[in-house]
């Protein structure tokens, strides 16, 4: 029998690729995602037809589409995770298990969409599937977009722990500061955000203001996963996947029925992912934390265990999560200021940090943590190292 920690460092990321993050890609969704795929394969030093496992993570691209575009002769493994924004990070688990078991050799993980010029997030929701009960029991009361799903959680957190909107602002300020250092970020040419800008931005879903909300983006990103043995023959230094996990909150199909509405899925898998990696929170040099909303970062910082429950608000103050701070968070600018491609850009940035190749590089970074967050509190974590 295997134990999770038997899979520590048994797979690695050997190639990454991204498109420009913009509001108008000018390409079809399939062209966009396959462009990111081709760049990741090229970065790894592989041929498209070398890929024999695929992990498509967005609507509009299937395993069959990927195999026919890449010219794969014998596709041995395919899987799509249904965890909203947690899907790309959670799919790392599927990729590692597929290559470490020998089921296939090179797995291609991709996510992306025309999220601005095509169908927007709210319009893409469907009552079929994991959101069914929300559509029956919550949608009729006006709970029709994600900022309304998570607003009640943020308010409860503010009530229980005294968390403030000004603390939310710290997350937006750090994300914009980092995005301005990046060559590929939707908001790279916009001005820095001040506390006043944040507090003066309109309330949309009280307690969330405009600057608490992520962007909508056209873009795609991809990564190639293989074993360390195969990586020896490739051109890039491998970035090891030391730990990986997915987790789901209590009552995963609705936020309303869980005993503690502020406890996300990642709270359940944090200890096991650190144990798997043989690391502690102190080993993390940089964290790319899923940031559909500013509050979502604060709550995950607590649930991952970087501080105690309720202390996430004070934790993000005083520049602690900015480059140069104790725990730099979302050095690419995140969903808030780089782009929203379901968190695949968080995986890419973690790889770049471990390679020493980010435009907002954390000095001597060796270990990066990635989180995914989606639907009604689903979560995923991965710990990468060079």
């Amino acid at each position: 029998m295997f134990k999770p920690k038997d899979f520590r460092d048994k797979a690695c990321i050997v190639g990454i690729g991204e498109t420009t993050y913009s509001r108008k890609s000018g390409m079809t969704n399939m062209t966009l995602q396959m462009t990111a795929c081709a760049r990741a394969i090229e970065d790894a030093g592989l041929k498209p037809s070398d890929i024999d496992g695929v992990l498509p993570q967005s609507m509009g691209l299937t395993a069959e589409d990927m195999a026919t575009n890449l010219g794969v002769k014998d596709l041995r493994f395919s899987s799509s995770v249904s965890m909203g924004g947690a899907s790309p990070c959670a799919a790392i688990q599927n990729g590692v298990l597929a290559v470490a078991s020998g089921v296939c050799n090179y797995v291609l993980l991709v996510s992306g969409r025309n999220g601005y010029s095509g169908a927007r997030t709210g319009a893409a929701l469907s009552p079929a599937g994991p959101m069914r009960t929300m559509f029956e029991f919550e949608y009729p009361y006006g709970l029709v977009v994600p900022m309304l799903w998570y607003g009640p959680i943020a308010r409860r957190h503010m009530h229980l722990y005294g968390t403030t909107s000004k603390q939310f602002a710290e997350v937006a300020i750090a994300a914009r500061k980092h995005a301005k250092m990046q060559k590929n970020a939707q908001m790279k040419d916009e001005k820095e955000i001040t506390l006043e800008d944040h507090q003066n931005s309109p309330l949309l879903a009280d307690p969330f203001r405009l600057l608490d909300c992520c962007l909508q983006t056209d873009g795609a990103a991809a990564a190639v996963i293989t074993t360390p043995e195969r990586a020896k023959d490739l051109k890039r230094k491998p970035i090891y996947i030391s730990g990986f996990a997915e987790a789901h909150p209590d009552s995963p199909s609705s936020t309303t029925q869980r005993p503690d509405i502020t406890r996300f899925g990642v709270a359940k898998c944090a200890d096991r992912v650190f144990e798997m990696a043989g690391m502690t929170r102190k080993d993390i040099d940089v964290a790319e934390i899923y940031d559909c909303f500013t509050f979502t970062v604060i709550n995950q910082i607590e649930d991952i265990g970087f501080c105690k429950k309720g202390e996430g608000g004070p934790f993000v103050e005083s520049g602690r999560i900015q480059l140069g701070g104790e725990l730099p968070v979302n050095t690419h600018g995140g969903l808030l200021s780089q782009g929203h491609i379901m968190g695949m850009n968080h995986v890419i940035e973690a790889v770049k940090q471990c390679r020493g190749a980010s435009d907002a590089q954390v000095k001597d970074a060796e270990v990066a943590l990635v989180s995914g967050y989606g639907d009604f509190g689903d979560g995923a974590l991965a710990i990468l190292r060079r």
């Binding site: 069914r132 029956e136 009361y141 006006g142 309304l148 607003g151 009640p152 949309l204 879903a205 009280d206």
Partner: protein, 150 residues
């Protein structure tokens, strides 16, 4: 010349399945009922076939007093759906049901209570409000649980 105001956009309706239909049928009779496990007596919501505490498929629809307390809320400051255009700012409220431990409902106030009046822990009464519309090309009516300040 007279001008006619455009009819208001329809609001979204519940989308019941056979497992959830009884909840709405009881609402139409003015009764707030939740599934309660016949074996371990645990309440559950939203409706589903199995008890998550003991795995039993046996349950009753237990009537509870229409009383609860505000657990938390979010206020839609804009109409994110055209059906709610005349109601913003619209508080969307999660309520702990007093006689069904662990059970919450989501709802809106229908007595003019504003988002600025709300406090966590505030007692509320649940009432039922009829909503009609077209679903699968048929005219349908539901009774939605709504809130009043207690």
């Amino acid at each position: 010349m007279t001008t006619q105001a455009a009819p208001p956009a329809p609001k979204p309706l519940p989308t019941p399945l056979p497992d959830t239909q009884p909840f709405w049928d009881f609402c139409k009779k003015g009764e707030l009922r939740f599934q309660k496990c016949s074996k371990c007596h645990t309440f559950r919501h939203y409706p589903r076939p199995m008890c998550p505490s003991c795995g039993s498929f046996e349950y009753t629809w237990e009537q509870v007093a229409p009383k609860g307390k505000v657990h938390t809320w979010v206020t839609a400051m804009r109409a994110f759906h055209p059906g709610f255009e005349k109601e913003v700012p619209l508080p969307i409220v999660i309520v702990d049901i007093e006689e069904a431990p662990g059970i919450r409902i989501m709802s809106n106030f229908n007595d003019g209570t504003k988002h600025t009046d709300l406090k966590i822990g505030m007692p509320v009464t649940i009432v039922f409000e009829e909503i009609s519309g077209v679903q699968d090309r048929a005219q349908v009516t539901y009774a939605l649980p709504k809130l009043r300040k207690a």
